[in-house]
């Protein structure tokens, strides 16, 4: 099997799919979560946010995304629900309405954090 085809097969077996975003090849899982949190940058986030249907990116959106990432890289995991609420200074009900896709598939996914893979 040619090397590229082999890599593609391996990625598919792992539930990974590669996409070109802002000129870079990025791997996502089947739900659209980043495979590697390090692949995220603000340019890529802007493309993905626009794809998700968000017309206008406000400072509040960036504050949420940056909080997610800072917390994740400092603690090695996503914030607990109450930590998230306190950290962004918003109720999670407000957060849910800020991002198309809501909290998990919206904000968390677009911040580049891995798929939490809860009971699904």
């Amino acid at each position: 099997m040619p090397q590229d085809a082999e890599r593609a097969q391996l990625a598919s077996d792992l539930g990974r799919e590669a996409r070109l975003v802002a000129g870079r090849e990025i791997y996502f899982d089947r739900e659209g979560f980043f495979w590697e949190a390090d692949d995220w940058d603000e340019e890529i986030a802007i493309v993905l946010l626009r794809e998700s249907g968000l017309a206008e990116l406000t400072e509040t959106h960036w504050k949420v995304l940056r909080y997610f990432r800072e917390y994740y890289f400092y603690h090695g995991r996503a914030p607990l629900n109450r930590q998230l609420k306190e950290g962004i200074g918003l109720s999670l009900q407000v957060l849910e309405s800020l991002f198309p896709g809501g909290i998990r598939k919206g904000a968390r996914r677009l911040a580049g954090l891995p798929n939490p893979k809860s009971c699904f």
Binding site: N81, R82, L92, I103
Partner: protein, 385 residues
């Protein structure tokens, strides 16, 4: 608003545990935390007495004829694996239901994928109940067992196990009951039901800790050993001990868990299973009725709560259930379980396989005020969508 978390996930595990149970676990393990039945010193004998006494309590609790056929396991999944590994043979067929937890579905899938068995799953009706005749329709000459959950962990519906058991007994097919969601809430009488085995877990409505559960077996059912090792008896023999309960128990058993399970059974006996069920059903009925005015809340199989345990599953339109769970947790201090509840086919039946749903399961320590808080939170969520 207080900071106390309103815990409504008792179908996953009861919380908090009764102080009496925790105290007895600590006291018992402090005083008798040695290897039970493995030595001749007094402490080992006394610890062994606790273990055997708990088997006797469990046998009475489940209407089982023989305390020696009460087998300790880590949980109900572990107990069901003992049944599947020790009962099924190549060429066998099994009948179960689409309401089962993955504790049943995954072992059956595992055996089928290897070409060892075949199985069929009976459907439930629109209210979440399996018709016993649906089970009968799937029976074959080589059906080795019928496996049925007593109460669905997604819908809360109590299945007609006694009628299913009667049909199985008429045809000589062993009935295996998963009592994970029912033991401690509704009476389980394996003799009256013609059940050949009952799998249970200790950490839900039996108020014990996690890590303890078991399997209660009727003497007519022969289950082979599927794990092997020390039992404290017959040590010269390399063959694993053939007599019950040791046949299905290998290695030192979970004394701390058994102490908690025993104390949990005492706790239930002081209150009565009926009283606990009545309390919980009053709460879940209050929840159901309180949500009647919420236009965007969709309840599943809750139009009638007759023959239910205290479980209600729902969705709020316009909010992913996982986000709803996070909002309830952070904004309202309410802990619920979201997702598929390890019962994917029950969700397929509801049409919620893709998104999952939100499950509310009040317990003995919840109050009407807790339920009113939950209703208020859901009303707030639904209004804003």
């Amino acid at each position: 608003m207080t900071n106390r978390v309103i815990y409504l996930d008792n179908a996953a595990t009861s919380y908090p545990k009764p102080p009496e149970v925790l105290d007895e676990m600590f006291r018992g393990y402090r005083d008798l935390g040695v290897s039970p039945g493995r030595g001749s010193y007094d402490l080992a004998v006394q610890a062994g007495d606790v273990v055997e006494g708990t088997r006797q309590k469990l046998a009475r609790f489940f209407g089982a004829p023989d305390p020696n056929r009460v087998i300790f396991a880590a949980n109900a999944t572990d107990a069901l694996n003992l049944v599947f590994n020790g009962l099924l043979r190549p060429g066998d067929h099994v009948v179960s239901t689409e309401l089962e937890h993955n504790s049943v579905l995954r072992p059956l899938h595992h055996f089928r994928e290897r070409g060892w068995i075949e199985y069929d799953l009976a459907s439930c009706d629109g209210r979440g109940f399996v018709d016993p005749d649906e089970i009968v329709k799937h029976l074959r000459p080589n059906t080795r067992a019928v496996v049925v959950t007593h109460a669905s962990n997604v819908l809360g519906t109590i299945q007609p196990v006694q009628q299913i058991g009667a049909r199985c007994a008429e045809r000589g097919v062993p009935l295996i009951v998963d009592a994970s969601q029912s033991a401690g809430i509704i009476p389980v009488d394996m003799t009256a039901w013609h059940a050949s085995a009952v799998a249970f877990t200790g950490h839900k409505a039996l108020f014990g800790p996690t890590g303890i559960g078991g399997l209660v077996i009727h003497p007519d059912l022969d289950i082979r050993a599927s794990r092997f090792g020390g039992t404290g008896i017959d040590s010269r023999e390399l063959e694993h001990t053939p007599t019950f309960p040791h046949r299905l128990e290998a290695g030192t058993i979970n004394v701390m868990g058994i102490l908690g399970l025993s104390a949990g059974l005492d706790y239930i006996a002081q209150r009565s299973v009926h009283a606990i069920h009545s309390h919980e059903m009053a709460l879940v009925t209050r929840l159901r009725d309180g949500l009647a005015g919420c236009a965007h809340v969709e309840l599943y199989c809750a139009a009638s709560l007759a023959d239910h345990v205290a479980v209600i599953t729902l969705n709020v339109q316009g909010i992913h259930p996982e986000d709803a769970g996070a909002i309830l947790d952070a904004d309202f201090q309410i802990a619920v379980r979201v997702g598929l509840h390890c019962a994917p086919l029950a969700h397929r039946h509801l049409g919620t396989l893709r998104r999952g749903a939100i499950r509310f399961s009040p317990g003995l320590f919840n109050t009407p005020e807790d339920i009113d808080r939950a209703v208020g939170a859901l009303a707030t969520l639904s209004v804003h969508k």
